[in-house]
Symmetry: C2
């Protein structure tokens, strides 16, 4: 009965104007850390601090898990599944790490594990990926799936401020946690893209294989230069199949700050909003956009999962193939160095003639095709250059950069970012 649980109870207690199927759902027990007055009116005897008594109760069909964190959430989920309960959870950390174990148990028990609330808050994304969009061959699923970092980057862009000051303000306003690590270092987004990739590409994803880079190093200068070049900087989570088909099914899966062209649909997703772009054959590109967190949106997602279970009566352990999990293999993830991508690098070099030519020649030697080298500014004999590449193997780019770092003209390489 925290933020999300309260939101769920509010919907279930006031069903007028909502889908009539909600009237078939009844709140049987509410597990709490502490018995105390609550803002929703439920009979006192529904509350209990004994979570085991809930998952053992034979009158309960569905368990909603909104505890968060890895334990005791994982153990309780597994125990509840063993007891034949369906699970509805918002817990991306548990699902991205223990999804295999949990879904195998669910398949054996013939129950559903529903996770609409785990990614994108209220945005219907899990159900469309499992259902409507799954008739396509998915080529990419990518998006802005962490509200805190999007809030910080939007404010950095609008105000021209630097990361640290805006993070501090965001913490004061409640948009960022006291320990912001999971958000600003991209770990939360990596949990979520692991889940989306598994659904999009029909195989399990090893969470640890996902390349993950946060937004701590983004400077006001980079945001301003990006803008001049026609980009905004967003923390994107990206999972895609390589454009060149390979023998084995291997995908890219990564989280990093990314220069997004201003006319791209993801560029105008601001503040705490989330958006997920799905690219498939033959559908093309669709984007699902909305509030990525908060009581109301997350509760909406959880109740939609409850309703989907209510509409899919199970029996003899037969489950609806559009709600269950059909994965039986693990997808391999392309190592980040083998990824082919566009890149942006900012360099501070001495103002000597021929330095742009020398850089261009070095990139060319490593087969790194450039889109532009732009001189952004000059101060005290130091020239600031921004280089944007075409799609190139990241390994070739890094090889060129290793060489360039040794150039006597190169003072510093303050930033290196991916470009969509």
């Amino acid at each position: 009965m925290g933020t999300v649980g309260t939101g769920v109870a509010k919907i279930l207690l006031q069903t007028e104007g909502r889908h009539p199927l909600l009237n078939t759902l009844e709140i049987m027990k509410v597990g709490v850390r502490q018995i105390k007055p609550r803002s929703v009116s439920l009979p006192d005897d529904l509350y209990t601090t004994d979570l085991d008594s809930i998952i053992a109760d034979p009158n309960i069909d569905i368990i909603i898990e909104v505890i968060g964190g890895l334990e005791p959430a994982r153990t309780l989920i597994l125990q509840a599944i063993e007891n034949g309960k369906h699970i509805v959870t918002a817990n991306k950390a548990v699902i991205s790490r223990y999804g295999e174990e949990i879904y195998e148990a669910a398949t054996t028990a013939g129950v559903y594990v529903m996770i609409e609330a785990a990614v994108g808050g209220g945005i219907p994304i899990i159900a469309p990926l499992k259902q409507a969009l799954s008739v396509n061959r998915i080529q990419a699923v990518m998006g802005i799936i962490n509200g805190t970092t999007n809030y910080i980057l939007t404010r950095m862009q609008n105000e021209g401020g630097d990361f640290e000051e805006i993070l501090t303000d965001a913490q004061a306003l409640g948009y960022a946690e006291a320990d912001p690590t999971a958000d600003v270092d991209g770990l939360d987004a990596a949990d979520k893209i692991a889940i989306l990739a598994a659904l999009a590409f029909g195989g399990r994803v090893n969470r640890e294989d996902i390349y993950c880079e946060g937004i701590r190093k983004i400077s006001a200068a980079d945001i301003s230069y990006a803008e001049k070049l026609g980009f905004v900087i967003k923390l994107l989570a990206i999972a895609k199949v390589p454009s060149q088909p390979t023998d084995t099914i291997s995908i890219q899966a990564r989280v990093h700050p990314t220069l997004v062209p201003t006319d791209h649909p993801l560029a105008s997703v601001n503040d705490v909003n989330n958006a997920v772009l799905i690219e498939g054959d033959p559908i093309g590109q669709v984007m699902l956009y909305g509030p990525g967190a908060g009581e109301g949106p997350t509760a909406s997602a959880i109740v939609s999962d409850l309703m989907a279970i209510a509409a899919s009566p199970t029996g003899n352990r037969k489950i609806n193939p559009l709600l269950g999990c059909t994965h039986t293999h693990t997808l391999s993830i392309v190592p980040n160095t083998e990824v082919v991508t566009r890149l942006y690098v900012r360099l501070l070099v001495k103002d000597t003639s021929g330095v742009i030519g020398k850089l261009g020649t070095c990139f060319g030697k490593h087969d790194v095709s450039l889109e532009s080298i732009v001189q952004i500014g000059i101060q005290d004999g130091i020239v600031e250059l921004v280089v944007v590449t075409h799609e190139v193997p990241e390994s070739a780019f890094q090889a060129a950069l290793t060489e360039i770092r040794q150039f006597p003209e190169v003072n510093e390489i303050p930033s290196l970012l991916h470009v969509l």
Copy 2:
């Protein structure tokens, strides 16, 4: 086996990399106007020009209707339902006009009538409205749901051209039909918003009650002035509940060119793309965006409906409550004059002192609260003024305008548009 039918066949004939449930679907017959070579490879004996033989075939479970138009589509759909077949259709004209008759027949027969492809091409919008989003109390569903007019308006905006010339070019390029009436006069969008409103607000909508205004009168001047004021002009279809609750369930439902603030999510939906924004309690705003038409997207939507039926086995006329239709009453539509909205009006007035004051006073007398009166230009003693109101009853605004038309200073009122 036209554009969309071909797209459907391509998906069903190449199921690798798609949801495994597609392998349970088999193409039994293909109704065509004429037996001739086709671009997909199906056995010759599947093709027939005898549509009645298809809907009478006891081995066929699902009929895909992509004929378009009112007849014979309507009669064939009803006949097929009577024969116990499920229907998947992209036909917004038939569903928006004969939905009541068709869904009553389907309920009696215990079959599904699935319409994902009827609105928004490939965008999953029908299923989320019926399912995930229906746990919310929906306050508004609105969007850009006609690709042709959005393509024309986007080009008018980018090129500064006038409607007629860009329409002609769009026709030459295949983006507009030879007879563009259904698109440019807003009729197609009205069909679609009738369908979305029925799903969002849980009642039938009388298609004829929907106010409908197309884009023929939009000039390059209006687009340019709108831009200066921070708006883009989009053809929006809007269905919403009044902000002031009323005794009876009555909704607004209308289609008209609309000034959309440039920072609104719908403002950056360009070209032939569609987007639908849903506002609900407690979810807030979500937007679903993607290609509004075309072989691939529409086929994706149709096959997703086929799969949803395949995953929901029926028996004893019991159907899945999240796929069936639960409407039993008709929603009343607020007359357009009673709508409360923001408005934009452009006037040409004689350059005499006090004319802005006189206009302001007249609007004030009719309780029309103004956001701005801006002088846009002056030429040959004629001043061009643009007035933007706050939310006002449209009737009050029209009363003020009737009076203003009689002012000796007012030469002409070339445009009157709604503002989001």
